[in-house]
Subunit: 336 residues, 2 copies
């Protein structure tokens, strides 16, 4: 367990060795069952004893025996006859994430850990790897908005501040890009001020649609679904959901715009056209949001980054620009 004083506020293990327990009992190849039973009797940590490990003269792991087979075998048989030879083992230098993946597929109660020469170093209980996965996956919704994996509700305030703040400044920078887009249409907004009220509607709606696609993609990456089928399938799926949702939500928003604009004396005559603008902008931006919600995490992974990190920040940049840009651009073309 790591010290809690070095600025790292939470001990998220990074190496297998941090999860490793000592080997409770091992015997040499050729040992008789009777002697092996005696080794089990002498084990230092009997409750941790799930397998009896079999090693060669160089302390290398050559097999393991399950207690049931040991119990049911003749006393003068040797462990070689009942052992599972060359058992699956974790390598001590394996990244923890890889060890977790290996464990999740196998579900063994305990995994032996070996070094590069296959020497037996210790064992890791299966539940520790599962627990690790749970902690990793529970970090995802925070990572999307710039909260680090390590942060939990008991992380010291200043440390949390230092780690979150740069992402908020990045978010601001991306918001300025969106603001610049809006700012380049001030002429349009001055003439049709109703559009200002619909800016947050477009941004919020396409942002939420995109975050739905993003969350499903990240979940699929975490659970291994995504790599089982063509990526294009996922892009098409979220694109289709985006445009279908955008069309229906757009119809309601268009009706609201029609109602709103027709009550303002200066925009009453433009109400139908403004409603059309909202419908087109909503459908188009939700289509783009769905697609971006798939492409952003896949792209982050492609460049070697964690697919979740700041993904929602990057996504809302796209959705803000496309959503508000489309609305103001279409309004400028179709209404003015």
């Amino acid at each position: 367990i790591k010290s809690h004083t070095d600025g790292k506020d939470l001990a998220i293990p990074e190496a297998i060795v941090e999860l490793m327990d000592p080997i409770p009992a091992s015997v040499a190849v050729g040992t008789t069952v009777a002697a092996a039973v005696e080794a089990v009797r002498r084990a230092q940590v009997p409750t941790e004893l799930t397998y009896l490990y079999i090693t060669d003269e160089g302390d290398r792991l050559v097999g393991l025996v399950v207690l049931r087979d040991l119990m049911l075998s003749e006393a003068d048989a040797t462990v070689d006859q009942i052992m599972l030879a060359s058992p699956f083992a974790l390598h001590v230098d394996m990244p923890l994430s890889e060890a977790c993946k290996a464990a999740v597929r196998r579900h063994y109660p305990v995994y032996p850990v070996v070094d590069a020469e296959n020497r037996l170093l210790g064992q890791v209980r299966g539940w520790r790897l599962f627990e690790q996965q749970i902690i990793e996956i529970s970090a995802q919704s925070g990572q999307m908005v710039g909260v680090q994996k390590e942060e939990r509700s008991f992380t010291p305030l200043f440390s949390a501040f230092l780690k979150r703040h740069p992402w908020l400044q990045l978010n601001l920078l991306t918001a300025f890009i969106a603001a610049f887009v809006v700012g380049s249409f001030t002429g349009t907004i001055e003439k049709i001020v109703a559009l200002a009220a619909f800016l947050p509607v477009l941004a919020g709606q396409s942002g939420n649609t995109g975050c739905q696609a993003l969350a499903i993609t990240l979940r699929g990456l975490a659970l291994g679904d995504v790599d089982k089928r063509p990526k294009l399938h996922l892009v098409l799926r979220e694109g289709a959901l985006g445009i279908a949702n955008g069309l229906l939500v757009g119809l309601v928003a268009a009706a609201a715009m029609w109602f709103y604009a027709s009550r303002q004396p200066e925009s009453a005559s433009q109400a139908p056209m403004l409603a059309l603008v909202i419908l087109l902008a909503m459908s188009g931006s939700c289509l783009m949001s769905g697609i971006s919600g798939v492409l952003i995490p896949l792209g982050l992974r492609r460049v070697g980054a964690d697919p979740a990190v700041a993904s929602a920040i990057f996504l809302t940049t796209v959705t803000d620009i496309v959503g508000m840009g489309l609305m103001l651009g279409l309004a400028t073309m179709l209404v003015l």
Copy 2:
């Protein structure tokens, strides 16, 4: 395993019975060790055999024996002498989430399952409960934006559409509230059109700050951190982070507003005051966002709902209204 044809596209187990395996071996109280070893030899599913269960004449669970103790005991001893009496067991009617919590604290490889009369029904492997937890927690970032727990990347398109769409309409409804707030300041926007460009900045920034607090709170609820300390502590923590982040981000945004406004002839003289408005609005709305990010999931849980469900949708309603409302309200008061 559930049928995949009944509209439920993914078999998320809801009851312990869906994860249950048969009991590999059990013997009656009073059985000798020799006879118990024989029962283990005859077990139908020997690889699943971790414990030998001990039952009374009514088939009720009274104890369990670990194989190591069975192996090391004298043949004419009885299992009563070596069993762990009244072992922890899952109740078949227990909600799965409760079973998961029980397992996560205990880390046993296998859990016996009993009915209300303590009759032994089967067993559940510990990894299945862990796996269940992983699937549950991986759903969180989607649930926040209205994607159901059941949805994965292979869920049929139409089913995903039907389940996501109502939440997007709800999101639209809440966006209209924010739009109504903006709409009630059209006079202000007409006079200072620079404010329109800062609407998405305020909304996006306070939304992201709030989502950071939301994610940490949901993570803490999932991992059990949150219930270990006073809730007020968490509210104060996220409030402090909100205002600290809001102040620093607000300074940068205020500088941008100053620069932007001073280049427009009609708002040049108002530039310093507009910058102050941005700073105050950003700090205030990020403070509110941080607090809301804690209170919304806790509130959802208090009323019996899943704390993650649509939490980001509710949160952004608050952050949109407070962020844009504060900016436009302060501008109306201080600048006009």
